[in-house]
């Protein structure tokens, strides 16, 4: 515990966090703007044009129904891509050695990058939420669930991005997971539909998708409607988060992809 709270380590943690925040704010056209534009298009096309033809789902309009999913999608993908691209960039330029040679513990490196990625994820999620308010009215049912789920998911995916970057040897390795795994799972993760619309078999298959559980738990907090038990959603995110923390620390201690 002393590794985190000692004054030098707090300074080191703050340094990484400041560096990461400055980085994603400096290149905001690459980090914050794309999600704002994409979500605006989703709200116009799916929410307004197509959504007006669709019946309400669980008592809410289709436009309202897709808001939690799009906010959570922005949080997850931005948190992930922030750490994966930033940490891999540091590996590529070898500037990661600045941190590795310093007296800063591996835990601080992990916390700093994870917090930086989570911050971008949450900031982008807030931007998407504000854009949604231009199209529909959202009355948040449970701030506790919304904030907890947003923070936990941002931390989880940020940590996932860091692990991806630790293993990555080339830029293709950084884009593989978001393109071929995360994006399909988010689209199949109940952003645009309720699993109650699926056949019983596909409902069971869909529940194996962790992103569906995350999105639906978040939707419960935001709209008060969900296809799953929110306790399971929180348990899943917490367990996955703890597993990734242990994995990431093991990789940093061993120096996988960082030390020879």
């Amino acid at each position: 515990m002393n590794l985190i709270i000692s004054y030098p380590n707090r300074v080191a943690l703050y340094t990484i966090l400041r560096k990461e925040t400055t980085r994603f704010l400096r290149i905001w056209t690459q980090t914050l703007l794309p999600s704002a534009i994409t979500s605006t298009l989703y709200f116009i096309i799916f929410g307004k044009l197509i959504g007006s033809q669709i019946q309400p789902i669980h008592g809410v309009s289709y436009m309202q129904y897709i808001v939690p999913g799009l906010v959570m999608q922005a949080i997850m993908l931005n948190a992930y891509s922030n750490t994966s691209s930033s940490f891999f960039g540091a590996k590529f330029s070898r500037s990661v050695e600045e941190m590795l040679v310093s007296s800063m513990p591996d835990l601080t490196i992990m916390l700093g990058y994870t917090a930086g990625g989570a911050l971008r994820g949450i900031l982008t999620g807030c931007i998407v939420l504000m854009i949604s308010m231009l199209f529909t009215h959202i009355h948040i049912q449970s701030f506790t669930i919304v904030i907890l789920m947003a923070v936990l998911s941002a931390l989880l995916f940020s940590l996932g991005g860091l692990i991806n970057a630790i293993f990555a040897k080339k830029f293709d390795d950084v884009s593989f997971v978001p393109t071929f795994i995360l994006t399909p799972l988010t689209y199949l993760g109940g952003i645009f539909f309720s699993i109650s619309q699926l056949s019983p078999f596909w409902q069971k298959v869909a529940l194996l998708n962790p992103i569906l559980n995350i999105v639906d738990t978040f939707r419960q907090g935001m709209l008060g409607t969900s296809d799953i038990d929110v306790r399971f959603g929180f348990l899943l995110v917490t367990v996955l988060f703890l597993i990734l923390i242990g994995w990431c620390m093991m990789l940093l201690r061993r120096g996988t992809g960082l030390r020879t």
């Binding site: 000692s6 004054y7 030098p8 380590n9 707090r10 300074v11 080191a12 703050y14 340094t15 990484i16 400041r18 560096k19 960039g89 540091a90 330029s93 070898r94 500037s95 050695e97 600045e98 941190m99 590795l100 040679v101 310093s102 007296s103 800063m104 513990p105 120096g255 030390r259 020879t260």
Partner: protein, 307 residues
């Protein structure tokens, strides 16, 4: 107190390459220490292990008494490293690079800013502080890495070929700065291919070859081990053949240049007496290579190969 103690250090890379074989080194506090060796001899691996960028296979390392296995962070807080290759983010501003580095060591922002100003001014980079690192010249990038390594004001500074690719004027400026730093109490370990640099700066030298320390001694006693020195003479009148000088090895490089090998018992006076006797007028005289270089070549060349 030793700044550095290395005991039975071994390193075998994943591909089976044995880089270090039972390295033992001690560097006293306040020393200016040269670690010399050919390319691939194991210098950078040793430095990589010291700054924990390379995992050792076995062995013990203590930095100012802190065991790297038991007190890793305390040991790392005592060391600053200037690597051989540029390893900073080229898009980051110079001031950001050095201030962030201080932050990683837990140096508060205000103190970091003061140190950045002090060292950037000292090494002539203050005016460039708002520029991204990629806009700096090669020499400036080297100086930036030195400033960065000093941001935690380490008692032990390790420099891996800090003057590679640096022009003569700048090299001399860096020598002056490093001497000043050493005089103020910082222990310095230097690797370099410029052996006159090591001879000029360092008080102690270790030579590593094929992963083993083959020489570890004070600079003076090492130089005294050199039994032979080679001189190059430019002579006034051209000669068709190498002259026969009594008791002195002489080789003709071209019609007006001779290479003379003197052993430790022979003085320059003996040489000139022999030259006078042969009627040869010498226009100029120089050492073929500097003394440390001569010793280095003799120690590291494979048996049977002549320099």
């Amino acid at each position: 107190m030793y700044a550095l103690e290395v005991n039975h250090l071994h390193k075998t890379y994943a591909n089976g390459l044995v880089a270090l074989k039972d390295i033992n080194l001690t560097v006293p506090e306040g020393d200016f220490f040269a670690l010399l060796g050919k390319n691939g001899a194991g210098k950078s691996t040793t430095i990589g292990i010291l700054c924990s960028l390379v995992n050792k296979t076995s062995g013990k390392i203590k930095i100012f008494g802190h065991d790297m296995d038991k007190q890793l962070y305390a040991a790392k807080s005592c060391i600053g490293v200037v690597p051989q290759e540029f390893n900073f983010n080229p898009f980051e501003k110079i001031s950001q690079i050095v201030i962030n580095q201080a932050g990683y060591y837990g140096v508060p922002w205000r103190v970091a800013c003061q140190r950045a100003e002090k060292y950037l001014k000292k090494l002539g980079l203050w005016e460039k502080r708002h520029q991204p690192a990629m806009r700096l010249s090669g020499g400036m990038k080297r100086r930036l890495m030195i400033v960065r390594a000093l941001m935690n004001e380490p008692p032990l500074l390790v420099l891996d070929e800090p003057t590679a690719g640096v022009d003569i004027e700048l090299r001399h400026g860096l020598w002056e700065f490093l001497t000043e730093l050493n005089n103020s109490g910082t222990t310095i370990i230097l690797t370099t291919h410029y052996l006159e640099e090591a001879e000029h700066l360092c008080r102690h030298v270790a030579i590593i070859d094929h992963g083993k320390i083959i020489e570890d001694a004070p600079m003076k006693s090492l130089i005294q081990q050199l039994h032979v020195q080679t001189l190059v003479l430019d002579i006034a009148a051209p000669l068709d053949d190498a002259p026969k000088l009594e008791g002195i090895k002489c080789r003709q490089l071209d019609k007006t240049t001779l290479e003379i090998e003197l052993n430790i018992t022979q003085t320059i006076n003996v040489l000139f007496a022999a030259l006078n006797k042969a009627g040869i007028t010498v226009v100029s005289l120089r050492q073929k290579i500097n003394r440390l270089e001569e010793l280095f070549v003799r120690l590291t060349q494979p048996a049977g190969v002549s320099s």
